[in-house]
């Protein structure tokens, strides 16, 4: 807002400065216009500074690329409800493939939010890379914690052929892969028209520790002898959890307030072992395939109670077993945030409350 003080000296100084500035500006502007034609400023919007082209500029995108993104956008629209989902993309992203993908998703009804960094629960990004196979391209898109990927073989006439099944991570929502041949998308192997649920290794990098700081915990720590079993430790998601040997309530009890237990199974491990084995793998596979819905939560309590010869002790063994089951669940497409893993460990037996060497796996479903 402009304020006028009536200071004439200052006013004259400003005028003189501006006259000089205008002279310089005018000269430069004149030269620039004469040389380059009537270039019109892009205004004071961000485009001018960043060189971001406004509007769709995906014309130069190859037909093969379009076919691949069309294919994956159809899968994305099955995982997320377009009319209720807003996807975030970085507003500086002028990549033509991303623009085409965003336009395609917007046409399907998704909300599109352009953010300054990587804000949002459904932040959208993609990776396109050549694989070790000749003429094969791997395309994957990440939407929040969900990853959708597929390999494609590039054909000579700017067309592609799907060269793998659709791999999904971070979701168990059933999707139909209905590949249909067209001029740019040639289906050569119909057996690849299906979805496979895999672990989201690309997104599962180490994250910050989330520590527990409840007053009860602080109090317990000060009361317990230092040479007893630990009272808390980090689970597979770097979230600090209580040792359930000392308490009856799960660290995640509040999460499960609105959930009802649907099923319970115990995965039994060998003595001093974290090896899952074929039988347990099959058990987990059946558990996920036949019972799990996408909004369900799985609670795990890894246990090791009794003497152990391992250096990692009961704590490492209990949480290691829970982590091993978590990995097996994630390899079937279960999202990490759907798994609540904790542990129960002590050098003595805990009675009937928990198994001595196993993981209690419970399925919880929302009441709402």
């Amino acid at each position: 807002m402009t304020q006028h003080s009536g200071d004439r000296a200052l006013y004259r100084a400003v005028c003189a400065h501006r006259a000089f500035y205008r002279l310089s500006t005018a000269s430069l502007l004149t030269a620039a216009l004469a040389l380059s034609g009537c270039a019109i400023s892009e205004g004071y919007g961000p485009d001018r500074l960043r060189g971001v082209s406004a509007g769709p500029s995906a014309e130069s995108l190859s037909e093969a690329d379009r076919a691949m993104f069309d294919d994956l956008s159809g899968i994305v629209a099955q995982i997320f409800e377009p009319l209720n989902t807003t996807l975030q993309i970085n507003r500086d992203n002028a990549d033509r493939r991303m623009q085409y993908f965003v336009d395609t998703l917007a046409d399907k009804g998704f909300g599109i939010q352009r953010v300054s960094a990587d804000q949002g629960a459904n932040y959208l990004s993609y990776t396109r890379k050549n694989t070790e196979q000749p003429d094969e391209v791997h395309l994957s898109v990440a939407i929040g914690a969900v990853l959708v990927g597929r390999d494609y073989r590039q054909l000579n006439d700017d067309a592609v052929s799907p060269n793998s099944v659709v791999r999904l991570a971070g979701t168990r929502i059933p999707v139909a892969v209905s590949d249909t041949s067209s001029r740019r998308f040639k289906v050569e192997d119909p057996s690849l028209s299906e979805a496979q649920y895999v672990a989201s290794l690309g997104l599962d990098e180490a994250s910050p520790v989330i520590s527990l700081i409840t007053p009860e915990l602080v109090s317990n720590v000060s009361n317990r002898a230092a040479n007893g079993p630990s009272l808390q430790a980090l689970n597979s998601s770097q979230v600090e959890v209580n040792n359930l040997f000392y308490g009856s309530e799960s660290t995640f009890a509040s999460v499960l307030d609105d959930y009802q237990r649907i099923d319970r199974q115990v995965i039994v491990f060998g003595n001093d072992s974290m090896v899952l084995g074929n039988t347990n793998k099959l058990l987990i596979e059946q558990f996920v395939d036949s019972k799990l819905k996408d909004s369900d939560v799985i609670s795990l309590v890894g246990c090791s109670n009794g003497p152990t010869a391992l250096e990692i002790g009961n704590e490492g063994l209990a949480l290691g077993r829970a982590q091993r089951v978590t990995q097996a669940l994630m390899s079937r497409g279960v999202a990490r945030h759907q798994v609540l893993d904790e542990g129960c460990w002590a050098p003595t037996n805990v009675g009937d409350r928990f198994p001595s060497r196993g993981v209690v796996m419970e399925l919880w479903r929302s009441n709402t």
Binding site: T2, S41, E42, G43, Y44, P56, A117
Partner: protein, 355 residues
């Protein structure tokens, strides 16, 4: 007003003649290109071709003025609000949709008027005792904003207060009216302030702004649209932090994590930090609060820290934590950080539960 104020008309004419010799009958002169006004999603290029670059600049100023106000209304936080819109049929429509996009709203194209936050807008020309004025309106759901603007030579100025309806929260709103003064003027005066439509306000804060020739800034020195929106958002968060400081004595700490930003300026959180927030929010209940401690290096105001805190609060909002449940803690001196320090920067996030 001359294109080159401060020069005599013949001198200006010479400059213009030279300048225009390099081009053919384009819509020359001051103004902005079509690209600056065209929405990235469903833009209508045809609608922009019939107006001059100067008119486009005016529309951008008007859209910035209205949208810069909209983002300060609590119900309309860009981090959480997705707006529904139809493909624009007019230049003003393009300008509005583009400004909403740039303000950070989620934009969803619909075929009719679906959605709770459907965007509608209008432009009405009126002949009044003050001359021709144009009333520009923008409505998002039940929230409506409108203001009259008048064109004077190369500049456009507001000619009324900004009227707002559909919300009770207009006390903290600050209009970005400085963007009009930056055009310069010849003793132009305009009124600045916001009022609730149809409701007299005895405490109305309105002022008049005098615009003189020396207020004019070169195009590339004027306030960026992006800056208007980010300042408005930041002001909202700062006011919000002051307004709703919780009584922490009524809460106990439940969980704590420390997010690490790569340096003091970045807003990118990265997958690991985002995952930590997602896992932390998983245990969040209705009466809980989150306290964000981003400012550790000074007693007082620290813009970089505030931006980081806002970034984290926006992330929390993206996962469903309401604004009123997230609190940005004031600065507390913990360590000294030099301005040139680009080492990783922590933000502490503490989850509190009621006692």
């Amino acid at each position: 007003m001359s294109f080159f104020p401060g020069f005599t008309k013949p001198a200006s004419g010479v400059f213009l003649a030279i300048a225009l010799s390099g081009c053919v009958a384009q819509s020359g002169g001051p103004g902005i290109g079509e690209g600056a006004l065209l929405p990235r999603l469903a833009g209508n290029e045809e609608a922009l071709k019939d107006i001059s670059a100067l008119e486009r600049a005016h529309l951008q100023l008007i859209a910035t003025n209205l949208v810069g106000t909209l983002v300060q209304i609590p119900e309309m936080r860009p981090a959480t609000a997705t707006l529904q819109f139809n493909k624009p049929e007019s230049a003003y429509g393009n300008a509005v949709i583009r400004a909403l996009e740039d303000a950070g709203f989620g934009m969803q194209m619909v075929s009719a008027d679906q959605g709770q936050n459907f965007v509608s807008y209008s432009k009405r020309l009126s002949e009044t005792e003050s001359g021709l004025v144009t009333d520009y309106a923008l409505a998002v759901g039940k929230i409506q904003l409108s203001r009259e603007y008048v064109v004077d030579e190369d500049a456009v100025f507001p000619s009324s207060l900004l009227r707002i309806s559909g919300t009770d929260y207009i006390a903290d709103i600050e209009l970005a009216d400085n963007i009009f003064a930056e055009q310069g003027g010849d003793g132009n005066v305009f009124i600045s302030g916001a009022q609730r439509e149809g409701i007299p306000d005895p405490e109305l804060k309105a002022s008049t702004v005098d615009v003189r020739a020396f207020d004019q800034l070169p195009q590339d020195k004027r306030t960026l649209q992006e800056t208007v929106f980010s300042d408005a958002r930041q002001r909202y968060f700062e006011n919000d932090a002051k307004r709703q400081a919780p009584e922490l004595d009524n809460y106990v700490k439940h969980r704590r994590t420390v997010l690490i930003f790569d340096d003091n300026t970045t807003q990118m959180m990265g997958n690991a930090n985002k995952r930590a927030v997602r896992l932390l929010v998983r245990e969040f209940s209705d009466d809980d609060i989150m306290v964000i401690k981003a400012c550790l290096d000074a007693d007082g105001k620290d813009d970089a820290s505030m931006n980081r805190a806002i970034r984290v609060e926006e992330e929390l909002a993206g996962y469903g934590v309401p604004t009123e449940a997230a609190y940005i803690a004031p600065c507390a001196r913990a360590s000294y950080r030099h301005a040139s320090d680009d080492s990783p920067t922590p933000v502490e996030l503490v989850h509190y539960r009621p006692r």
